[in-house]
């Protein structure tokens, strides 16, 4: 049955409307969880507030299990669900640069949009920074391209790399998430949390 638009069960014209509705849900949940506060977001790196870890991994596990469940009943054709390609070096180095941006700036792009929507001026500046960063990438593309294209492994899944089934990998991801939640709960008890 699904995904509905690629299989033309819903007309292509609905795509942007659905994007907007999905975005409203995304922004609403992020703000409700407290992702509109950089001090709450950065808390995970110091142990005083681990909301990022809890929300992020609960969401990943929920969507991952949902996809596997839906595919069991043929509600969704996983072959039509986009798997982002792996270019190993750019994924690592891009991630390292983003991690530095996270601890310095206190937001990521999605959370900065959420935070600026409720009036956080630091988030507006962060958003302007993203704009400049992407512009710099565009202007340095010719230089960075060899790194950007290096070590292309295809639209590959971690389960294929490890040689295990998707369900087995999902099981291990859930175990890892539960261990992290346990550590997070202990950390929050041990690090003082100020009101902000």
């Amino acid at each position: 049955m699904g995904p509905l638009i690629p299989q033309e069960i819903i007309a292509e014209g609905w795509n942007f409307f659905i994007a907007f509705v999905v975005g409203v849900g995304f922004g609403f949940v992020l703000e409700q969880a407290g992702f509109s506060s950089s001090r709450k977001l950065a808390g995970v790196f110091y142990g005083y507030d681990t909301v990022v870890l809890k929300v992020f991994f609960t969401a990943a596990v929920t969507a991952m299990l949902g996809l596997l469940y839906f595919s069991l009943f043929d509600w969704i054709d996983l072959n039509l669900v986009w798997v982002n390609p792996t270019f190993l070096w750019s994924a690592i180095i891009g991630g390292v640069i983003m991690g530095a941006g996270f601890i310095i700036g206190g937001y990521c792009p999605g959370t900065s949009v959420c935070a600026l929507s409720i009036g956080k001026i630091d988030a507006m500046i962060f958003f302007g920074g993203i704009f400049i960063g992407i512009f710099l990438f565009g202007e340095t593309y010719a230089i960075i391209k060899p790194l950007y294209m290096a070590e292309y492994l295809g639209n590959i899944k971690l389960s294929d790399v490890l040689g295990i089934s998707q369900g087995t990998l999902a099981f291990f991801v859930i175990i890892a998430a539960l261990v992290m939640f346990y550590v997070a709960e202990i950390a929050e008890k041990n690090f003082p949390r100020k009101e902000y």
């Binding site: 995904p3 999905v22 992020l30 992020f56 969401a59 839906f70 700036g105 990521c108 959420c114």
Partner: protein
């Protein structure tokens, strides 16, 4: 005032369901930095169209009647803006302010936010997506890139946390 935010596990399940519905309807997940890319490409194209045509990067998104603003992520991020605003309005959190730790001044916070944004913007293009587009969505579809990017982002932030502690604790 202790419980002013939603329970994080409940919020995580709801966010997961939003992501799952994106997959179910459109076959693709969430994102954020891609919308800013559309904004950058559009701006450069207005200011210097011959430059976008020559660039190996911008030219992927322009020409042949292609409009970078007519993209899925642009509409999705407009939704994030509205959704965040609605939640903030309902919770009484709409307020124009610079949020920062008492250790640092507003000015320093804004400078750091700007630097962080530039880094995140650059890294998101190199890494083909940010926390939502590459890490979260990628992990949900079990993509290798999703796990690698997630670990690189969080691992680096943890590793550097010590050096930036004065700004946060």
């Amino acid at each position: 005032m202790k419980t002013k935010y939603m329970n994080p596990y409940l919020a995580g399940v709801l966010l997961g369901l939003v992501l799952l519905s994106a997959f179910f309807f459109t076959g693709r997940g969430l994102g954020a930095s891609g919308a800013v890319k559309s904004l950058v490409v559009t701006t450069v194209d207005v200011v210097a169209p011959e430059h976008t045509a020559e660039s190996g990067y911008y030219s992927k998104y322009t020409g042949d009647g292609k409009s970078p603003m007519k993209s899925w992520l642009v509409f999705e991020v407009l939704g994030v803006l509205i959704g965040g605003f609605l939640s903030g309005a309902l919770a009484g959190r709409l307020k124009l302010k610079v949020e920062h730790h008492p250790n640092i001044t507003s000015k320093k916070r804004l400078i750091l936010a700007g630097i962080g944004g530039v880094l995140f913007g650059y890294g998101s293009q190199l890494g083909r997506g940010c926390t939502s587009g590459s890490a979260l969505t990628g992990m949900a579809v079990l993509s290798l890139a999703g796990f690698v990017t997630m670990m690189a982002i969080f691992g680096t932030a943890f590793a550097l946390a010590y050096f930036f502690r004065r700004n946060w604790i």
